[in-house]
Every structure is written in C-alpha cells, then in structure tokens.
C-alpha cells in the first residue's frame, strides 16, 4: 500500500512530541527572586529552615516558599525588593557560619520538577554576570615543588649523616655540592631511593649531584596544582555568596570561573586571583640596626630586610614561626582595646605548638606579621610575551609579646576591607600556584535582559515570516511543513532543556538559522512532488517518489552542515560553542520533523484513498 505508515510510527511520533512538549514547558514559567542559604561546613536541616522562617516572620517579610535541596535552603519571594530586604535580614541574624546569596530560581511547578524538567540554562550574556578565564602559573608551581624538595633533601642528608657543602636551586634543576668523593658516592646511592620524583646525575669532577624532576612528577604536580586551585577557588566563590557558580578546568592549565549575577567585579577579581597570606617572624636587632642595614645594605646573616607599610625598614629573622598554611580558621573582627579592625586566626596543632613555644621563650620581644601577596601578569612587548611576577611582602604589624599564646590570637594593622578580604582568603585556603586572569567578560543585568528580549523578538519575527511565506507558496503542504517546523522548535527547546546546555545569544542565532534552513528539507520534497505531478504521475505516486528521491539529497546537505557545526563545537569557546550546539541539535531534529513528521501528516491526510488533486 502506498503512503501509509504503520500505527507504531504514528504512536511513537506522538510520544516524542508529547515528551518534547512536557520538557519544553518549564521555559514558559518565569523565575522567582530567591535567596540561597548554605552553611560553611554542614548541610542545612529542618531546624535551620525553621530558624530562617522565624527570622523572616519577625521582620514581617512574606516569602513564597522555602525548600531544602542538596543541603541548601532556597527561599523564594514575590519580588526583588522583598528579596533584598530578606537577604539583608538573614545575613544579620543567621550568624557568620551561614552564607546568604541572591539567586533567581526557576518557578517550575512541582510536578515538572519531579520528572527533572527544568528550563534551559541561560549563558552569562543572557542573564548577566562575570566570566573569568584564569591561567595557573605552572612555572611557579614547579618552582615551589622544587624548593620544598630542596629542604627535604637537606634534612634527609642531615638525618643520614651525609655531609654536604650546600644545596641550591637553579633554573635547570637542583644542585648538591659535596666536600669529597666518598660522601658524594654515598649520597648518590641513597638519594634515588628516597626521592623517586627526582632524577639524579653525578658530576664527580665538580663534586656535584644534579637532581631534576622526572616528567611524571612534573605532570603530577601540574595536575594537582590545578585541582588544588580549583578547590580553593570554589571555596572562595562560596565565601563570596554567589549562587550557581561554574568552576571548571579548561585545557591543562586553565580554569573557567563563571559568576552569574555578580556586580562588584573588581572585588570578585581581587578575591579570586589573590594569593595573599600571612607569616609570623621574630625581629632581629634594634631600630638603629634596621636603619643602619637599610643605609649600608649590610644585612646580618640570620636576617632578611623587610619594610613596613610606611616604608621604614625592619630586620626579621630568617626562620618563619608560622605560615598562612597552618591557619585553619580566620574571621575579621574589631579589636576593642586598640580600636582598629583585626583578623582573628586559629592555628592547627603543629602551628599552635610552634607558636606556643616561641611566645613562651620570647616574652617581651617584638614579633612581626608579614603580609605576602603574589601577582602575575602577561605583558606584550613587540612580538614577545613575558610573564611578570611580583611578590609584595609587607610588615603590617610589630607587637611586643605580652604573654604566651598558641592556637587563637588576633592580628591588627590592616584597614577593615583588607581585614575582611584577608580573613576570607585565609579561610578558603591558599592557591597552590598563582593565577592570572587572562580573559574576562562582564555583562550587566540590563544588557542580559535586552539580549533575551531581542533574541526572542528575532526568533518570533523570523519564524512567523517563514510560516506565512510557506503557507502562501505551498498552500496545504505549506501548512503541513509549518506544523513540522513548530514541532521542530519545541523539540530543540526540549533537548536544550534536557541536556541543560547553555543557551547564549549566538545560540539563539543558531535556532533562528535552523528555522530558516529546516524548511529546506520540505522545500526539496515539495519541489520533487510538484515535478513528479508535472511529469504526469498520479498524486499518490508523486508523494511517494517525492519523499523517496529527496531523501539522499537532504541527508548529504545536512551532513555537510553538521560537519561544519561539529568543527565549530570542537574548536570554539563559550558563545561559539553555544551556536554550534543549537545548530547541530537543530539539524538533527529537523531531519526528524521535516521528513518523518510531515510524511506522517501527509499519509494521514492523503494515504490509502483516491485523490485527484494535491494542495501544493
């Protein structure tokens, strides 16, 4: 029988369409202004929910709903004003361990959420926010590893009672010098077993052993530096209170950070890229010695010359008492006695023990707090690019030790913003290697809204003009093609929602372009049918031949476009990827709707009955 589809084909087409309609549906509901509440260390419980509700009640703030989800609490409001007032109230009353972030939560009804239906994920160009691409300074990461190995080698040789003259790090590796051949040989035998990450080569004439990191160790270090940095960045972003952040690895040395809805980008950048930390050291000599050292440049062997914020010199002991790594918690507070901002810190066991010993032995002596900040920047001079690394080390505070203290104490000497930032950084952990922001895109919320509106308008206008044109030109068959085209757009939206792929402005352009190109398949088929009719074939035979003959042409044409789209996807970034995704999905779904979909309708209308004329 000509032009008849078996029942299962109709049923499966209907099912696909129904499925698509349901999963595209969440996009029709808007978004609720919401506040997302989480805790630094634990998952939120019903008790927290009750506490939040109580706070809101006491302030006369009406909320729409409050849901616990994955340890977060999401409280929805009717409008943005209440949202802002509520966020303020919650921040004040919930205590410092709670993080309060503004959010826009999809207003998807419960029954749709139950089947995991969610609206499309909007890219930053549509919702506003910041996109950062950060490059991890791998050279610095390797240097840091080599330096720590250097001190390990030193203590290993000391423990093994092998005497050496000195160890030093140079750009091409680590060098260990010996006094005589016997010691060198002894070390050369033992070192490779103790340090598997190093390759050792002996130079007996120069009484030197050279150690180099193995390829595997370098690879491992790079990988873990990247992972460690991602963890730290995630902690920092959480501290900033951003809802739905994206922190992802890109390539082997880069990290993408996307913060939807954030406005204070300068502040965010400072926090994300900062490598600020603290060090505690004892001072050396007297103020007169410090000025003398600055003037003559002669610095005692056990000391290093630092400067205070006002530029005056200080000599500090080479030995560090405690570093920032040993700080487990920090908060910005206010020192009541001195009347200035302060950072209260808590040390881990090892740090506390060391601090306790030092302060006990040094009561009455001054101790200094050093604030360290690393920065890198790539600059272009002519055709070459160079990385500039700067490390600022400032003494922010020198205080006389009044009594012994160990785990908990306060540091002053910073302004209140600095105290706040430093506390945040110490809490979130330090970056394993410095990062540099190499790309940044900030989109204001008004522009995001504009883009959505413009994208929507151009889709609608493009779509409607194509519908009108098809109806005028192909009449009955044109309307069939239009049904398929509409189904196609619904299916694209459903697939995008299901995949939770990011919709960007170029992505919308991809949908618009697909609408224009999806008719191509139908045009090919309809032109074939017209041709067959002109050649004097019966309507039924013409329909059959039209679909049959157009098929391979349609496939060829679509495969080539798909090829270009796949290349775009593989090589493109961000917005371009968005375009490639919608274009590829559009091509695939249009094959289904334009060939199988229209055929089903045509068969239903014309199949298996005598027809004299086709409306084409």
């Amino acid at each position: 029988m000509l032009n008849q589809y078996p029942l299962w084909k109709y049923i499966s087409l209907c099912l696909v369409l129904l499925f698509a309609c349901i999963y595209a549906l969440p996009n029709l509901y808007g978004e609720d202004p919401a506040v997302q509440i989480s805790h630094r260390t634990k998952s939120l419980t019903q008790e927290d929910k009750a506490a939040v509700e109580k706070i809101l009640q006491s302030k006369d703030i009406t909320m729409k709903s409050a849901d616990l989800d994955l340890g977060h609490l999401l409280v929805r409001f009717d409008n943005t004003e209440t949202q802002l007032v509520a966020a303020e109230a919650l921040k004040e009353n919930l205590g410092k361990q709670y993080l309060v972030a503004l959010n826009l939560a999809p207003a998807t009804p419960e029954w749709l959420r139950a089947i995991n239906a969610a609206p499309m994920y909007l890219g930053l160009d549509l919702r506003g926010g910041v996109h950062f691409l950060m490059e991890v300074d791998m050279v610095a990461a390797i240097k840091r590893l080599e330096e720590s190995l250097l001190s390990d080698i030193r203590s290993y040789l000391r423990d093994e009672k092998i005497r050496y003259r000195g160890v030093r790090r140079e750009d091409d590796g680590l060098y260990i010098n010996f006094r005589d051949l016997a010691e060198l040989q002894q070390a050369a035998e033992k070192l490779p077993r103790a340090f598997r990450e190093l390759e050792f080569t002996e130079d007996e004439a120069a009484l030197t052993i050279k150690a180099k990191l193995t390829e595997a160790a370098i690879r491992e270090e790079k990988k873990s530096a990247l992972q460690q940095n991602i963890i730290t960045l995630r902690n920092r972003v959480n501290e900033l209170g951003v809802a739905e952040p994206v922190i992802q690895q890109q390539g082997d040395s880069r990290i993408v950070v996307q913060l939807p809805g954030i406005q204070d980008t300068a502040g965010a950048k400072k926090i994300l890229g900062a490598t600020a930390t603290l060090e505690f050291r004892m001072t050396e000599g007297t103020r007169a010695d410090w000025l003398e050292a600055e003037k003559t440049g002669r610095i005692p062997l056990n000391a290093i010359l630092y400067h205070e914020r006002d530029g005056s010199p200080v000599l500090l002991n080479r030995r560090v008492i405690v570093t920032g790594d040993q700080i487990v918690d920090a908060a910005s507070t206010f020192d009541q006695q001195k009347g200035m901002p302060a950072v209260s810190v808590r040390l881990n066991g090892k740090g506390a023990k060391k601090m306790g010993e030092t302060t006990r032995e040094n009561i009455g002596n001054p101790m200094a707090v050093v604030f360290i900040e690393n920065k890198i920047e790539t600059k272009r001079v002519g055709d070459t690019m160079t990385k500039h690394r700067t490390t600022t080390k400032e003494v922010i505070n020198i205080a006389t030790i009044q009594g012994q203290f160990s785990a908990r104490f306060q540091v002053t000497g910073l302004d209140s913003q600095e105290a706040h930032d430093l506390a945040l950084l110490l809490r979130a952990g330090s970056l394993r290697a410095p990062v540099e922001i190499i790309e940044e895109r900030t989109i204001g919320p008004s522009l995001g809204k504009d883009n959505i509106e413009k994208g929507f308008i151009s889709v609608v206008i493009g779509f409607v003009t194509v519908l009108v044109f098809m109806t005028v030109y192909y009449k009955g068959f044109g309307i069939i093609a239009n049904i398929a085209l509409t189904a196609n757009v619904v299916i694209i939206v459903a697939v995008l929602s299901l995949l939770q792929a990011t919709l960007t402005m170029p992505g919308i352009a991809g949908i618009v372009l697909t609408v224009g190109m999806a008719v191509d398949a139908n045009v090919l088929i309809f032109e074939r049918i017209r041709e067959e009719l002109r050649n004097g074939n019966s309507p039924q035979a013409s329909i059959h031949a039209g679909y049959e003959k157009a098929f391979s042409t349609i496939t060829d044409a679509n495969v080539t476009t798909l090829l270009a789209a796949v290349v775009l996807f593989a090589l493109g970034t961000g917005p371009v990827k968005g375009f490639a995704i919608t274009l590829s999905i559009g091509i695939l779904t249009s094959m289904l709707t334009a060939i199988v979909g229209t055929r089903a309708i045509v068969n239903l209308l014309y199949g298996n009955r005598p027809i004299k004329k086709l409306s084409i």
Binding site: T560, T561, L568
Partner: protein, 313 residues
C-alpha cells in the same frame, strides 16, 4: 539570456553566461584579496586582546566630549564609537602595561560619568589577554582549515573527484568574498563572525550538494545531450528550491539583523553575504567548474564491481 519553453517551465541557459560570471567572480576575489592584503581585517578584541567597555547613557552622547575626557584621564589610545544607538557607546583600549586590570571598568565608568549630568550605566566589560587573542586567532584559522578538509573528504567519498573540486572551489570562493567584504567595509571581525563564516561554509555546501546531486542524476538518466545542456537542465530543475531556501534563510537572517541587536549584527551580516554569494556560487562556480574540467557521462557511471571468483576448492 536566451530562454526556451520546455514542459511549461522556463528554461534558463545559465551555462551560456559562464564566461562573464567567471570574470565577475575572479574580479570579486581579486578585490577581496587585495583588500585583505592592504586593509587587513578589523579584528575585534577576541583576536587582538585588549579591553572593551560598553556603557549606556540616558541621552544622546557627544563622542568628542567622551574622547577628550578619556584623553585627559590618560587613556590616550581609547577608541570611542556609538554602539547600536546614539545613546550607547563602546570604548576600546589596547592592552597596556600601566593599566590596573582589576579596576579598569570602574575607572572608565567614572570618566564617562563626568561627561553627562545623568546616569551612565555599565553594560559590559570585556578583557582578553594577549595570549588568549593569539590562540583564538590560531584556533580560528585551524577551524576553517579542518572544516574545509573534512568537507573535501566527505564530498570526494560521496561524489567523484571533479564534483569535489567544484564544491571546494565554490566554498573557497564564498569564504574569501565574505571575509573580503568584512575587510573592505572594515566591519569588526570577532568570534561570532568567525562562527558565521563557518556556518556559511555549511550552508554554501548544502546548496552546492543539492545541485551536484541533481547533475549526477540527470547525467545518469538522460542520453545524447551535451554536458552543458544537462547542467542547465539540472540547475533549472533545482532552481526554485535553491531560491526558496535562500529566501527563507534570508528572511530569518533579516529578522536577526534588524531585531537581534548590535551584538549579533556582524554575525547576521556575514551570513547574509554568505547566503547570497553561496547561492550564486553553487550555480556558477561549482557547476561551471565541472564544464571546465570536461565532465562527461562516464564520470558518473556506477562502476560495476568485479566479482571476486573464489577458485579455491
């Protein structure tokens, strides 16, 4: 152009014009290449690296005033222009050593605020580091080459060599002219435009494949006609389809161009140029190339597979 009536359908002798169109195409390509060599492309910050700040004013902006204010604030190399409307402006600054990356957006906004009594809103700040710009440029070039290569392989597998050569020539023609127009008019060439150029490749090929497909079919079914007539016949048979599809695509692209906003302007422009050129090239470049390569029936005959006779016992 001479026309003959066959089967109540207009038959246009496209191929009789191929000498003129060839000259026309070569002329376009030469102009494009010369412009590319002399003017180059007006690359956006995606490719050059640098800073871009988009700001919205409440009223029309006096660009000279903004420029002077920026020069006074030590942003001598800042380029200022309107963006989309006379109320919105865009400021571009080349990457420089003495710029504080963290606060540049705010400092520019502060300068802009001095030029108007009313509110100035920050709409967009972008920074692309020099290393990223260079990479994107390289990757963009690779993307173009990979796409062309992949398509060449696909076409030579699906058709025979002469058709593949025709298709690729048409593609190269379209890409050069599209990019050439961007160079000639000095329209900004950014990542989305590159995406559009790649889409043009896909689209132009789509068109070419449909025509080539029909040429192959006609060669196989019709005997005793000159190659030129067969090409003309095939082009005529697919003509209404070619025009229809180009027309609907142009409809949606026009909607994008006029209603999609400034950010998508370059993208829509590139595709509109590409669709027009691509439609023309699938007729005149791809098909005419076949004639110049002396295409004949044998090229399209299905090779009879030799039967492998297994004479093992």
């Amino acid at each position: 152009m001479s026309q003959t009536q066959t089967d109540n359908k207009v038959m246009i002798k496209f191929m009789s014009l191929r000498k003129y169109t060839m000259v026309f195409s070569i002329l376009l390509i030469i102009v494009s290449i010369v412009s590319l060599a002399i003017n180059g492309l007006n690359f956006g910050i995606d490719f050059t690296g640098g800073y871009l700040i988009e700001a919205g004013y409440q009223n029309d902006v006096n660009l000279d005033k903004v420029r002077n204010a920026l020069v006074d604030a030590k942003f001598k190399d800042a380029q200022v222009q309107n963006y989309g409307s006379s109320k919105d402006i865009i400021v571009r600054i080349a990457p420089r050593a003495d710029i504080n990356k963290a606060t540049i957006g705010d400092s520019i906004l502060n300068v802009l605020k001095t030029t108007s009594d009313q509110e100035v809103k920050m709409r967009r700040v972008e920074f692309v580091g020099p290393q990223v710009g260079e990479e994107l440029r390289d990757e963009g070039g690779i993307a173009l080459l990979v796409a062309l290569g992949g398509i060449l392989i696909y076409i030579s597998l699906r058709f025979q060599l002469k058709s593949a050569v025709g298709a690729i020539l048409a593609l190269v023609h379209d890409v050069i002219i599209t990019v050439g127009v961007f160079s000639l008019l000095q329209i900004e060439f950014d990542l989305t435009v590159l995406a559009a150029v790649l889409a043009v490749i896909g689209y132009s090929l789509n068109d070419t494949v449909v025509v080539l497909d029909r040429i192959r079919e006609t060669f196989r079914s019709i005997r005793k006609t000159s190659a030129e007539d067969i090409l003309d016949l095939s082009i005529n048979q697919t003509l209404s389809r070619t025009l229809m599809t180009s027309f609907t695509t142009l409809l949606v692209l026009t909607a994008l161009f006029f209603f999609g906003g400034e950010i998508i302007h370059g993208f829509a422009t590139a595709l509109i140029i590409g669709v027009v050129i691509g439609t023309y090239s699938s007729i005149y470049i791809a098909s005419a190339t076949l004639l110049y390569m002396n295409i004949h029936k044998q090229d399209f005959m299905v090779e009879a597979k030799e039967q492998v006779v297994d004479d093992m016992p």
